[in-house]
């Protein structure tokens, strides 16, 4: 590693009122390295990134670039110091064309085109940014940042919304970037990616840096231990009987599978079709079962979940819930039948300015037939029970928007726990959530199933599937191309299947 430190952050802190977002964080990025910034949700990652990019100003601490102290007043001033960022939310303006967006930031269109070409992509510059698919927007954002030729590139969860092949192309570009002696600060929840692309990693916990390590073999366990802290140094097993953290005992699976066939069918779908998205999907969920859906970006999973949740009407096909036909016109119909959705974007599900309790109690008041004042004691009891069961951190409960992503997701689940349901549709519920909370959500889903619910789980993280599910359906181009028992669904197999490769292969 070169001796010159490109970026040197020392003792940076930030508090919002009484809430300390960042206690004292230090970070060093050398020239020509890809450095990972890791930490559980609420550890202070996003705050540090916001400070580095000038979105917010720190209360204390120093930032130096190549030994010279820098201060950023706004995102506009960070690039002048040789720093460019790709944020979690695309920073392209939807109502402007791509060309106008480039002009807006003074980006060099030729440079952007060159970097897009380096990733084998092109874009019609007269298209409105709002008309482009999300993955392409992220790539465009990346190309725009690269075209500025910054010395330090900050990538905040760039891979979260990208299909696997695009991730590979992004990595290709990052490697090229590093080879030119430039640096990248890489923020991701996907440890596999971090190990693949990064040289070193700094781990944040509770608003402070708790260690920087060189990424080598077996670094993952070390990272997880640092992220979780001394309390959870040894990774908890998902189920007490399990031999390890990563796999479930086959015996348990077989037990469940055996018992499941006798359990009542809770959700059946036959021949669901949506033009341009779904081409005849059939599936069935029994009580006590978690069925996974594995798919690359844009294979119809959105439409499938929308149809089941009543968010969208299918062009063809039939849905039956506990034996009764359901043709939901609105989510209200689906919810009344006991089919509830936990969406990927928590912002869509929550009332951000309202309290945890109100957010949980919301579906309790669906029925207009319930006139009169709200029974606060009943509401409090139901919400309290759900909060306790999910171990929701209620320190910021006055306003849900102040909570961490993982806690917000728990509030969404808690809402349905309090209201009651038969079938829970979880669309990528662990996206952007830290390892600890992820485990809690996995365990929660298993508990729900054990209590007799059925869960349909789409996840963009394939390793989750053998961990949580009983069976898995692979969607490809709007069809179920394979169904596998979860124990056969290791990552390699799933990867082949979701790419539409392993259709002919016998299961197992």
């Amino acid at each position: 590693m070169p001796a010159v430190n490109l970026l040197e952050v020392r003792g940076v802190s930030k508090r919002y009122g009484a809430v300390v977002a960042l206690r004292s964080a230090s970070l060093t990025v050398a020239a020509g390295e890809v450095h990972a910034l890791l930490g559980a949700n609420g550890a202070g990652k996003s705050t540090l990134v916001k400070i580095l990019t000038g979105v917010i100003r720190p209360d204390a601490g120093t930032i130096e670039m190549s030994g010279r102290p820098v201060r950023f007043a706004s995102p506009a001033s960070a690039p002048r110091a040789g720093l460019a960022a790709v944020f979690q939310d695309p920073s392209l303006v939807p109502d402007l064309t791509v060309r106008q967006n480039l002009r807006l930031t003074g980006a060099d269109p030729a440079g952007v085109r060159r970097w897009l070409a380096a990733m084998d992509l092109g874009v019609d510059e007269d298209d409105l940014a709002g008309d482009l698919p999300l993955p392409l927007l992220r790539i465009l954002d990346l190309a725009r940042a690269l075209a500025r030729e910054p010395r330090l590139l900050i990538l905040d969860e760039i891979t979260a919304a990208l299909p696997a092949d695009l991730v590979e192309r992004v990595f290709h570009v990052i490697r090229r970037w590093r080879a030119q002696g430039r640096s990248v600060l890489f923020i991701s929840h996907r440890l596999v990616e971090v190990r693949t692309i990064c040289d070193r990693a700094t781990v944040l916990r509770d608003g402070a840096d708790v260690g920087t390590l060189v990424l080598a073999e077996r670094a993952e366990q070390q990272i997880v231990a640092l992220m979780l802290g001394p309390m959870a140094a040894s990774p908890e097993a998902l189920r007490p009987a399990g031999p390890g953290a990563g796999t479930r005992p086959d015996a348990a699976v077989r037990d469940r599978a055996g018992g499941a066939s006798a359990a009542p069918l809770l959700l059946e779908a036959r021949g669901l079709a949506v033009s341009g998205a779904l081409r005849g999907v059939s599936l069935s969920l029994r009580a006590g079962e978690i069925v996974g859906v594995a798919a690359l970006e844009g294979q119809g999973q959105d439409a499938l979940f929308d149809c089941l949740a009543g968010n969208r009407r299918a062009d063809a096909g039939e849905i039956r819930v506990a034996g009764r036909t359901l043709a939901p016109r609105t989510p209200y119909d689906a919810i009344r039948a006991g089919v509830v959705l936990v969406p990927a974007d928590r912002v869509h599900a929550l009332l951000p300015q309202r309290s945890v309790r109100e957010n949980i109690a919301l579906p309790l008041y669906n029925r207009a037939a319930r006139w009169g004042p709200i029974d606060l004691r009943d509401e409090g009891a139901r919400a309290g029970a759900a909060i306790a069961r999910l171990a929701i951190d209620t320190r910021a409960q006055r306003q849900v928007r102040r909570m961490s992503g993982g806690n917000q997701q728990k509030v969404v689940v808690a809402r349905w726990l309090a209201a009651g349901f038969r079938v829970m549709l979880c669309f990528d519920p662990t996206r952007g959530i830290d390892v600890g909370t992820k485990r809690q959500i996995h365990r929660l889903l298993r508990d729900l199933a054990a209590a007799g619910a059925a869960v349909l789980l789409f996840t963009s993280e394939l390793p989750e599937i053998p961990l949580v599910c009983d069976r898995v359906l692979a969607l490809y181009e709007g069809r179920v191309v394979r169904e596998l028992p979860a124990r056969a669904a290791d990552e390699a197999t799933l990867l082949r299947v979701v790419h539409g490769l392993a259709r002919e292969e016998p299961p197992g």
């Binding site: 979105v55 960070a78 106008q100 967006n101 007269d126 993955p135």
Partner: protein, 331 residues
């Protein structure tokens, strides 16, 4: 991209001109509607002539300019409830200052007042940006201030404007109504230079998605202040139009233009959420609303009832357009 192409994306690469028409479909439609209505008027009143055209433009001029003022602000994601009172204030101040002025002096006074109005708009914008108080509240308050000042300066209508200045706004130049020239000049001199500059791009960007614009390094505050300053300048022009058409000052003259300017802006295809639309649409919509009024008056309809018709038309057009948009998105 990877995977199957997004529905509708493949095989539908429109050529640039077609795409431009599609993107400004609303403006095209509203101008078409205006043309159709003019044709109807010609049928109903075969005697329609240049003089009628000119009286239409004269009648519509204050609303056209008010709509332009509102549009500048709405495009940036704001809303300006002080457009009407600002027009009143400019109206009374200009009528007062121009009472004994020559035509030349009147023009100088107008230019000076425009600068002051732009500064007042910029101040409004600065207050909004600095305090974070929502646009609707700050402009409601500044509206009270402007309206109160106007009443204070001229409790009863009075003042005057030189005939030459009045003719400049409401007469005719050659055979063209000078109101049209005023609108085109305002567009060419005030709006287009900004619209085509980075500042205009920033104004649209801030209106479309403020967070994305901020993260892109756009000076969000400056763009919003620019929008309000433009709005102030257009509102001043609207005030002059009132002065010219009545040749006096009246502190209540502009009051109704706040909400009709919003109606014309929406009818002109500008998204109230900001970032989408242009200036031509609202101007055409202002002409359209005025023309409808004129037609109904010709037919002997109670003027109060014609307001009902105007309101119904705004709702109907916006609703139909919304349905068409939804259908196109869904297809």
């Amino acid at each position: 991209m990877t995977g199957p192409p997004a529905p509708g994306a493949a095989g539908r690469r429109p050529i640039a001109a077609l795409r431009a028409v599609r993107r400004s479909a609303w403006t095209v439609a509203i101008v078409g509607l205006l043309g159709a209505l003019l044709a109807v008027e010609k049928l109903v009143h075969p005697t329609l002539n240049v003089f009628d055209m000119q009286s239409l433009v004269d009648g519509a001029l204050p609303l056209c300019l008010a709509a332009m003022a509102q549009t500048a602000v709405v495009l940036s994601g704001g809303i300006d409830l002080s457009v009407g009172p600002m027009m009143s204030l400019v109206n009374v101040v200009s009528a007062l200052l121009m009472t004994h002025a020559t035509n030349g002096q009147a023009v100088l006074i107008a230019l000076g007042l425009m600068a002051v109005a732009a500064a007042a708009g910029a101040l409004t914008g600065a207050v909004i940006v600095a305090t974070g108080v929502p646009d609707i509240i700050v402009t409601l308050a500044t509206g009270f201030v402007w309206g109160g000042l106007a009443l204070h300066i001229m409790p009863i209508p009075g003042g005057a404007a030189p005939a030459g200045f009045a003719a400049l706004m409401t007469g005719e130049l050659g055979s063209v109504p000078s109101g049209l020239v005023v609108i085109l000049a305002a567009l060419a001199i005030l709006w287009e230079p900004v619209h085509r500059s980075p500042a205009g791009l920033a104004l649209y960007a801030v209106g479309s998605n403020r967070a994305a614009a901020y993260l892109s390094g756009v000076a969000v505050g400056r763009a919003r202040v620019t929008a309000y300053a433009m709005g102030g300048a257009f509102a001043a022009l609207g005030g002059f139009a009132l002065t010219a058409s009545t040749t006096n000052g009246n502190a209540a003259a502009g009051t109704s233009y706040t909400l009709t300017s919003v109606a014309a802006t929406v009818l002109g295809g500008v998204s109230l959420a900001g970032g989408r639309g242009g200036m031509i649409g609202p101007v055409a919509a202002a002409l359209l609303l005025t023309l409808i009024n004129t037609l109904l008056t010709f037919e002997g309809v109670d003027p109060n009832f014609s307001l009902v018709v105007q309101g119904a038309i705004v709702v109907l057009v916006v609703m139909v357009a919304g349905l068409v948009l939804v259908r196109r998105r869904g297809a």
